[in-house]
Symmetry: C2
Subunit: 317 residues, 2 copies
């Protein structure tokens, strides 16, 4: 397992080539990569007229419309284009850059910026000023400020929004400006208050250690906003922890312990008195390429489920 | 891989026992199961006074509060209770039924009913009448009708709601009654209409084959409502397909092809002209016990990403 695996662009060089194998697959060579490309897969990438809808670029045909015995009969590579002719008479010109993206070798340029783990002495917290993003996207500067703000959020996992009004409801106004609030059992907005019958520890004065919110939901909050209107307590510093940096540090220093966190499933269980929300996931989820996808962490609500015969020594180490 | 694996209740019998191993783990025997239980894990299940908050049952301590060298010093099993004494002086009485649930051997009674795959000649579509669930939960019969409705949805994956008004906005009213609408780029409600510049094939008269909606989102719609106000077309039967039944049939008849659908990741990609939404997942997701979790299927938007050196023969078979 390696979190640091990078997917660099494979540059085309003079050794790039394409030919058709006897079984109708295309044997391509893009620089130092030599994939064997399935004819149906290549056929599905076609963007020739009639193959995709013009406005939304969605495919107009389905697998049932394609001859199951389809093969490639000719393939040529010139510059950035792979041209393929098929046994059904179709011929298409495919962009090598697009193919590399489809094969997962290069990042999709439409993807948000990759996350960057925090380091000691890292740059100050990213900041945006609410008036700069509060307007319509066609007002001068608003689109640019919004892209900067969302880019910072994707890279660093948080952004401080300054100059918001300290009136109730502002947090919902800010959230609805950015996207759509997802409601839940707490309603549209959660008021952090000290309550006599606390249905959640967040309604008490108990110190909450670092955690991720709502790990007991199939869908954890994606972008979460906190807005402090009034602080009547002494002390109580807010602590932020970067789950990506913690995971990468574990990967370097204690890979066997990280292995336990990626494989042992945990019941995150929230009993709200009238009903219960549960989701079962590992604490750290990696994608199939071993890259960090997401983290669930809450030491008040977690019940690891050991596999039959397995022990939890690595979990509790 | 087996989708049909069942997790029956393990009944306690006279061979049930518990003892403490030399390393402080508890060696329990519940009927025919003999788990080795970690002392920290057992300590975290404690519901004795002071260990959990009374109203919300959330744990009051964290791993940092527990001696890392904690061991069990005594364990006894009587009837449905396992009593454990720990080296930190704590002593707790744990319900065996709750432990079995925590170990994943029996379903959580708070979990929704398990899904049932459709079979040829299955019972008629489950139906609910809108007036029966439209009221407040404390009105007579409303809570029962709502539980029946949601139970049918969990079991069968769909329910027909009859007697809804044919006025615009009803679908949002029904949705907000059940939970919270999740908005997206289409807004809060998607109007299926024929549009001149279709940003989605659903805005065209093109026949749409069976698919799941929005597979390009990290979060697919959970419970989706369709409401037909007026039908100005001839023909166009609606077709429903049960993804669970299809997956189980593949598991029985072509397990190697199902394997391809559970392991090959797919970029589901929706280009809406101004921006793009992408999520990369396998078509069929199973949980760690091999049980069906979810399905993404859309032959207009799917771009399988073969692993390096792997071929897509099984995918296209």
């Amino acid at each position: 397992m390696c979190l640091c695996q990078s997917y660099g662009m494979t540059l085309l060089d003079s050794s790039s080539s394409a030919s058709v194998a006897t079984d109708g697959h295309v044997e391509a060579r893009f620089g130092n990569r030599a994939p064997r490309l399935h004819p149906q897969w290549l056929r599905e990438q076609s963007t020739e007229p009639g193959q995709i809808e013009a406005t939304n670029r969605q495919r107009l045909f389905t697998p049932l419309d394609v001859d199951p015995g389809l093969v490639a009969v000719d393939a040529e590579l010139h510059g950035d284009a792979l041209t393929v002719a098929f046994s059904d008479g179709h011929r298409c010109r495919l962009s090598v850059a697009a193919l590399m993206q489809r094969l997962g070798w290069v990042a999709d340029p439409e993807a948000p910026p990759a996350p960057i783990a925090w380091e000691p002495g890292a740059a100050p917290f990213p900041t945006v000023f609410w008036p700069a993003i509060a307007g319509e996207l066609d007002e001068p500067g608003v689109a640019e400020a919004t892209v900067d703000f969302l880019g910072d959020f994707a890279r660093h996992g948080f952004v401080i929004i300054r100059d918001t009004p300290t009136t109730e409801g502002t947090v919902a106004e800010v959230a609805n400006h950015i996207g759509y609030i997802a409601g839940n059992n707490f309603g549209w907005v959660f008021d952090v208050r000290n309550k006599p019958k606390p249905t959640d520890l967040a309604y008490t004065a108990i110190e909450l250690k670092p955690h991720t919110d709502q790990p007991y939901r199939k869908v954890q909050p994606g972008l979460q906003l906190l807005h402090c209107l009034a602080n009547e307590s002494d002390g109580g510093d807010s602590v932020l922890v970067d789950g990506l940096a913690a995971t990468e540090a574990m990967c370097r220093e204690q890979p066997d312990l990280l292995e336990a966190l990626t494989t042992i499933e945990v019941d995150f269980r929230y009993d709200m008195g009238t009903d219960v929300a549960i989701d079962r996931r590992p604490v750290v989820q990696l994608d199939s390429a071993g890259r960090f996808r997401q983290l669930r962490f809450n030491t008040k609500l977690d019940f690891p489920v050991p596999a039959d015969g397995a022990d939890l020594d690595a979990w509790y180490a």
